[in-house]
């Protein structure tokens, strides 16, 4: 992790190498590239990112507003769209807190204690990241679908999971499973157990120590993890597509609603709903920049 002083040094270094060309002709610094190579590299990076990242984002908003503001608002206030927005919010409101509690518990166990099999446990926690979203949906169909392991029992008892809201929630929980734990584990490992031990020595109970010492120490990373988890929960497509059955107005989340509209050649409405999801992504990115600067300060302050 670069601290402030190395960044300042880098800046001084760059300024020294780049701005003196006008007065005295100096050779490129030995640990940097010459001005031409530098310009080419920066140019290539920006061109590549504009083509692959910026353009798709811009096209979402352009296509959404192609038929004017009226059509845009109409696409978002139409009953099926409203139902999709409500379902998406509800699924995220269940999935994110579940993974939040898990993330804190897992990070507490992994970061504050030593035990055999720890790295294996961390690999298992990361597992959902390497599983295709479609496979994530499939495994729940194999468990709870009509021909699934528990399918017979569920039919007898009238429990519906697949092609219903519970299946959507489960698939979402699966794909967003590691997000919060992933953010907390490295940070809490770095912070060690010193603060908690002091609090306990001074007579705080375990719960007091957690609320007053640990939680304030990890608050920015926790919030960042929640944001990432939420963005993925609201935007998940593959896993949810497999278990939802896409019953319009009932089991369609916003991304599924986008798919249905797009396949109906209702491009303006599809992009209108997509633009709301794109806005969510932009908010997530802005919040990420803010939170990262806050918690890298926090880390830097602690290590000095």
């Amino acid at each position: 992790m670069p601290d402030a002083s190395t960044i300042l040094q880098q800046n001084a270094h760059v300024a020294g190498g780049g701005t003196t060309a006008g007065t005295t002709r100096r050779r490129a610094p030995v640990t940097g590239e010459g001005p031409v190579a530098r310009a080419v590299l920066i140019g290539v990076a920006i061109a590549f990112l504009s083509l692959f990242l910026l353009l798709p984002l811009v096209v979402v908003f352009v296509e959404a507003l192609r038929a004017g503001a009226g059509a845009y608002v109409a696409a978002l206030t139409e009953p099926d769209a409203v139902a999709a927005i409500q379902l998406t919010l509800m699924v995220a409101a269940i999935a994110v807190p579940l993974n939040l509690v898990f993330g804190v518990a897992a990070a507490w166990a992994v970061a504050k204690f030593e035990f055999p099999g720890k790295s294996f446990l961390v690999s298992l926690i990361d597992l959902p990241f390497s599983v295709s979203p479609v496979v994530a949906g499939l495994v729940y169909v194999l468990l709870f679908g009509a021909q699934g392991l528990f399918g017979g029992w569920m039919r007898e008892n009238g429990v519906e999971i697949i092609f219903a809201v519970p299946g959507i929630v489960l698939a979402t929980v699966f794909v967003t499973f590691p997000f919060i734990a992933r953010e907390l584990i490295p940070l809490m490992e770095e912070q060690g157990t010193g603060d908690e031990e002091v609090a306990m020595t001074l007579g705080a109970s375990g719960l007091q120590t957690f609320w007053r010492v640990t939680l304030p120490n990890i608050r920015f990373a926790l919030l960042y993890g929640v944001l990432l988890c939420n963005a993925r929960a609201m935007g998940e497509f593959g896993a949810v597509a497999v278990v939802s059955g896409k019953i319009r107005g009932y089991t369609t989340t916003m991304p599924l609603h986008v798919e249905i509209l797009y396949n109906e050649y209702n491009s303006v409405a599809a992009f209108a709903v997509a633009s709301v999801l794109a806005l969510l992504a932009l908010v997530t990115l802005v919040a990420k920049v803010f939170l990262e600067s806050r918690y890298s300060d926090e880390l830097a302050a602690r290590s000095h």
């Binding site: 166990a109 797009y262 997509a274 990115l285 990420k288």
Partner: protein
């Protein structure tokens, strides 16, 4: 007694935290994956072999794996350049560019999918530039490749970036003092220690690409044997209630995912031993 295997600690909550972690992990992740393994066992090895070697399935697997490899390789080159530029140079808008790298993580895949399809379709902003030359991008394997490059970029940049930031500049100075020119220094001194991070990022991008669904299906055209990806074929088999067929494809993909996970862990262990960092 149950958790007496841990080292003594003054901090409470170990049993509860670990117990909850394992129970939740078991219920949400391991039990469902076990259902897949169980189903695959029911079908049996010879049955799985027959299902997987069906020409359409093989074609889909080839499309998914081949294009994911190609896209990860593309991203290894451009991701490396982006990471280098972001760490080493200061230029106006650098913060914005840095933040933009995460866009594919944050943007829902379905949104990316329809946006890319609109851009690269024959009448789209980019597609119309290539159309006069008879080059079709959307609804061909080339479109799948474009979507996979989009999805994979942040994996390379975000794994390589911190390692470049940690590079010791004194080694580069030493190399220059000893008479190496800048190219020699870059290729012989700077890049070799970045290899483990680059391989990790490559493996992550590849794994993501193989399993990717949402950003691809809109731009792919989904023509069997040509531009049909493995995850889509799983969905098609499920819609036909062919659970065995879906399970067979998913098993191959899961085995590869595990192998990649293992490979990443090995690369990181190797790099810790060799270079003292992951």
């Amino acid at each position: 007694m149950a958790f007496s295997f841990r080292r003594k600690s003054a901090i409470p909550g170990f049993g509860l935290a670990l117990g909850y972690t394992i129970a939740y992990l078991g219920l949400i992740v391991l039990l469902p994956l076990a259902a897949l393994v169980l189903r695959a066992a029911e079908v049996g090895p010879s049955g799985l072999y027959t299902l997987v070697t069906d020409p359409r399935v093989l074609g889909a697997l080839r499309t998914s794996f081949g294009l994911a490899l190609l896209a990860a390789a593309t991203n290894a080159v451009f991701g490396m350049i982006v990471a280098w530029v972001l760490v080493r140079y200061r230029f106006p808008g650098r913060g914005l560019v840095d933040a933009a790298v995460d866009l594919p993580f944050a943007l829902p895949t379905a949104v990316a999918g329809i946006a890319l399809a609109a851009l690269y379709a024959p009448n789209g902003w980019i597609g119309s530039l290539f159309e006069p030359y008879g080059i079709k991008i959307a609804f061909t394997p080339l479109g799948i490749y474009i979507a996979l490059v989009f999805i994979g970029l942040p994996f390379i940049v975000r794994t390589v970036q911190p390692v470049i930031a940690e590079c010791d500049r004194e080694i580069e100075e030493a190399s220059a003092t000893l008479g190496a020119n800048r190219w020699q220094t870059v290729f012989r001194v700077v890049l070799p220690p970045l290899t483990p991070a680059l391989l990790t990022g490559f493996a992550l991008a590849f794994a993501r690409g193989v399993g990717e669904y949402g950003s691809i299906i809109f731009i792919a055209g989904n023509i069997p044997y040509i531009s049909e990806i493995a995850p889509l074929l799983i969905v098609i088999k499920l819609e036909e209630y062919d659970y065995a067929g879906a399970t067979a494809i998913a098993t191959v993909m899961l085995v590869v995912a595990f192998a990649i996970l293992l490979a990443i862990n090995l690369v990181q262990a190797w790099s810790r031993r060799r270079l003292g960092h992951a």
